[in-house]
Amino acid sequence: MSAPPLLDVRKLTVEFATRRGTVQAVKAIDLSVGKGETVAVVGESGSGKSVTSYAMVRILDRAGRIADGSISFSGVDLVAASEAQMRDLRGREISMIFQNPRAALNPIRKVGRQIEDVLVQHVQATRATAREKAIEALEKVRIARPEERYDAYPFELSGGMCQRVVIALALACQPQLLIADEPTTGLDVTTQKAVMDLIVELTRERGMSTILITHDLGLAAAYSDRVVVMEKGRVVETAGALDIFRDPQHPYTRKLMKATPRLGMSLQDLLPDGREVRERPSPEGEAGAAGSPARSPLGPPLLVVENLVKEYPRPPKGSLLARLTGKAEPEAQPFRAVDGIGFEVRRGETLGLVGESGCGKSTTSMMLNRLLDPTAGRILFDGQDIGAIPAKGFAASPFRQRIQMVFQDPTDSLNPRFTAERAIADPILRMGKIRGRAALRARCEELARSVGLPTELIDRFPHQLSGGQKARVGIARAIALDPDLVILDEPTAALDVSVQAVVLNLLDELKQRLGMSYIFVSHDLNVVRLLCDRVVVMRSGRIVEQGTAEEVLGDPKAAYTRELLSAIPHPPA
């Protein structure tokens, strides 16, 4: 690259003033982006990758400041630029796409109008031509029937559509640099592929440069020219996208690569060498911890689901007046979130429940763990139809302690006012047989040890624990009463890959040791492949395909499964 780079960051240091003094979130990093180049910034949470991008457009929050270094953008010094200059640059020269597209859009303004606002603001259109230009912009981001969508509100559009609108907004003024901060996190894989393809195509077309900020190495590899790996505020490695995957230099990059689930790996492969899942080996021995996972022989069915249906009434149709006066006609056909599905889970088996958002997998898991009543169908657990026991009274049922769950968001699923010990003890206090303060404490410590949570941490409140530690508390609580079936609802979706690697191994090891069955609800096929014996693929409330993991993911019969598999961005092998 002989031409001077479009964006040149030198020795950038960003500090945050906190209660415990000043903390450097970004430490003297160098970064450059050439014209037309796509640079991916990869790192785990806390690596400073987002802070770097916020510093570039100077939208750090009040506690943060650029302590040192320079940022030059096509000759303009962004550190010294006035706020007025920055306002003019943002949107016109540099624009950003954020993680949650719905939050980036004004919920009570039509999407077309929002695009118009940006165009008029930056004098790209007059009020007279704005509508036409806005529709044109919607067309460019492949929104079907743009004239109709112009009048849509954000809540009427899917997540993928909203992200397209945000892209249209970001590109409306033909900026030279696009900063995409986790643009597809939270979107389905097929939507992710469509959105990323769109970003790459549009930016190439216009000769734009892109900074792609992501935690997903696969995504970075598939869509960028160069990859910058960040760890704890420092750039540890910068290399071409292909080189970094073929020959990672820095140990952190290697660790990150290793922890990313890929084809042809086993669960243990995810862990860095010499790292044990647990703090201490358990007396029960290392049955499943060594070598490749020895799948236990599959027992009789523990759970049989027959023709399970969940219906929700649709909102009544009609005008606002009709709805207010109660004269609107209720929709005759209720909405079927789960539409007659059937499968079974055998003892000691892990069943993967896979599908994109809205496919009914979460509704299904809520019915199976008896927090939600099915409309029709049977849930046979150990031969008993537990679907017939109403969800309201299930807490008092003897089956309650045999079916437990690990939730998706470890933060949201812990009571902020309970210590880790109190959270783990909760099911024991309600349904367990252990009485007495000392015995309870001992049991909680034992559980903490078995999930690899240091026992000195169990007196802490959730906000004093890290994401991975909170996830362990959630797992300890779920296994506190030795359940037969644990439903894992995307248990690692909120975690970093390296933490995910450890948690997945922990879950697998616990299953072997305690003889539990799992239902693993996930959208991440790479993870499902590693952990599951059999897989059920769902779409629109129905089962598209089910079979063993090797069959379904290795040789898919349904077109939809193939589509899902091909949408996963793969790091080059």
Binding site: F407, P427, R430, S466
Partner: protein, 299 residues
């Protein structure tokens, strides 16, 4: 996901922050916001006056001395004397106990009743929600001070009835805040998790929901406390509730009002200032209380 979207300095997220003691935490809150420290100091002063005031004051608040009537502020009578020659400083300080206890009792009453009605409505929904909502709507339909006057007039002129009236007019505030806070937490992950742990619905309400809405309720209490004092004094001002010669800020302002035109301003001014200071203090206290009781702020 939300783990990543937050901008926060890196090391804090990797290593979990150490626990802080309540005292150290309080010290930090006060150091961070001096106004909070000021409010807490004022509050301590009010509590002290309420507890010890009557035994500390230089004169008997009820003893009249007609020879020294309507004297302006001086070294022997800091706030002057009233038409019966009673020492206004002693009366203002002694009145703290009555005004403060009316406010505390009524706020405690409405906190329990309104709070419980609200969380029950928000958590269970259905007919409980409708019932609580309608009761709150009915109360809100009246001008609140007029409603309080009506209640005291109907129930009888006593301190107990002032407490009840003040509690009733504050009911909608508490019920609505508690309802809204319980409602948004009803489907939270930790509530679902507790459901899986075999907790009954009532236990969920009491162990999961109620402790988590305490910070908000504490702020609410602090804010309505000032309002409750004002309300009690207002009722006494118009001649309801507390009767003369009992020292009470509202009565004292009412009695002093007639002397302002003739130039004896101190009779009404000092009890009025005491009232204002108390209300001001409780309003300032709200934010400090929230910072103190919220566990999220403890790192």
């Amino acid at each position: 996901m939300n783990e990543m979207s937050k901008i926060e300095p890196a090391p804090l997220r990797f290593e979990a922050p150490p626990a802080t003691s309540l005292l150290a935490h309080a010290r930090h809150i006060v150091a961070e916001n001096p106004v909070t420290g000021f409010a807490f100091a004022l509050f301590a002063l009010i509590v002290l006056a309420a507890l010890l005031g009557p035994s500390l004051v230089p004169y008997d608040p009820l003893a009249s001395n007609t020879s020294a009537a309507l004297q302006g502020p001086s070294a022997s009578h800091w706030f002057g004397t009233d038409q019966l020659g009673r020492d206004i400083f002693s009366r203002v300080v002694a009145a703290t106990r009555l005004d403060f206890s009316i406010a505390v009792t009524s706020v405690a009453l409405v906190f329990v009743l309104g709070g419980l009605a609200g969380v029950t409505a928000g958590f269970f929904g259905g007919w409980v929600d409708t019932l609580v909502g309608r009761i709150a709507d009915t109360i809100m339909a009246f001008p609140l001070f007029v409603l309080a006057m009506g209640i005291v007039a109907a129930l009888g002129n006593s301190v107990t009835n002032i407490v009840i009236a003040t509690a009733i007019i504050n009911f909608p505030l508490y019920a609505r805040v508690a309802r809204a806070e319980a409602n948004i937490r009803r489907e939270a992950g930790f509530v679902q998790a507790a459901r899986l742990s075999g907790n009954s619905e009532w236990r969920l309400l009491l162990t999961q929901i109620v402790p988590n809405i305490m910070p908000i309720m504490a702020v609410q209490m602090s804010l309505t406390m000032g309002y409750a004092i004002l309300n009690a004094a207002g009722l006494s001002f118009i001649g309801l509730g507390v009767r003369p010669p009992t020292p009470e800020w509202g009565i004292m302002v009412a009695e002093g009002a007639s002397f302002i035109v003739s130039g004896e301003w101190w009779v009404a001014l000092f009890p009025g200032l005491a009232l204002m200071t108390a209300v001001f203090c409780f309003n300032l206290l709200g934010d400090g209380v929230r910072d103190l009781v919220d566990p999220q702020r403890r790192n």
